[in-house]
Point group: C2
């Protein structure tokens, strides 16, 4: 697992955090200290973290953090659509386009851990049609594709 570089400097992180907070509020979720802290860590990390990795990062700044607390915060943030859970790796990541409609696809690089989030029309259409064909009224679609990203596959040739 290589390390993806942190995606943003502090200034834009601050702005991103504010944007996410606004979204949560707009979707009827209180944005409490704990939830903000979880958001901040996910934003700072820029990659998927397990609940316990999150907990380890929260403890230093708030010794009272607990597993239950972290899971509750994550639950709420997922409700608000600003965090996704990666079922296949049991981890959590910030949504890449929290304003858009939801239930997208996640592409996960085995090598660097990068997660790319999409809302591919063809995949949406195909899975929707599949559900219909088999008589299911779908309420959630997990589409997680794992592989190796371009950067990891041809790391030297670029420069």
């Amino acid at each position: 697992m290589g390390k993806p570089r942190k995606p943003q400097d502090c200034g834009s992180q601050q702005r991103a955090l504010e944007r996410l907070e606004a979204l949560c509020r707009a979707r009827g979720q209180r944005l409490t200290r704990q939830r903000r802290a979880v958001l901040r860590q996910l934003l700072a990390e820029g990659r998927a973290l397990s609940a316990y990795e999150l907990l380890a990062r929260l403890r230093p700044e708030d010794g009272r953090s607990t597993p239950a607390g972290v899971y509750r915060a994550l639950e709420c943030l997922m409700q608000a659509g600003v965090v996704h859970r990666l079922e296949s790796t049991r981890s959590f990541i910030l949504c890449g386009h929290p304003e858009a409609p939801h239930g997208g696809q996640l592409l996960i690089c085995r090598t660097c851990g990068q997660v790319v989030e999409t809302e591919d029309e063809r995949v949406e259409a195909a899975t929707g049609r599949l559900g219909q064909r088999l008589g299911f009224s779908l309420d959630q679609r997990f589409v997680e594709l794992t592989g190796v990203c371009e950067r990891c596959r041809v790391p030297q040739t670029a420069h």
Copy 2:
């Protein structure tokens, strides 16, 4: 969670078991006592079971079963392509069409627990193309769609 009826009588279960065993062997896996026992339980149950549910069913007939043993058996059976893991529910189920090529889609009914397995061309094509478009060489595709199946949605109207 309603109970799906057991899918087959004992005679055809026996035949199904033999067919699965043949497949495992053809794919280079020894079919040992423990693995056969796991297959038998999954076949008898006809629905997805967690590793520990499996363990509970194996213990009465073999008191020495352990979690590690169950996971090892499942690992092997997944390798052979006759068992799938449902990531979204952390459970395991017999493959519905073990002879076919693999990496299909799973539709899961929230109400009765039924799992329908498909190999939908459109979904395959769409996810493949998506990977290509984003520069990923995919090695695994988890597509799990949850919802309510037809039978559970309109249970009374049929008869």
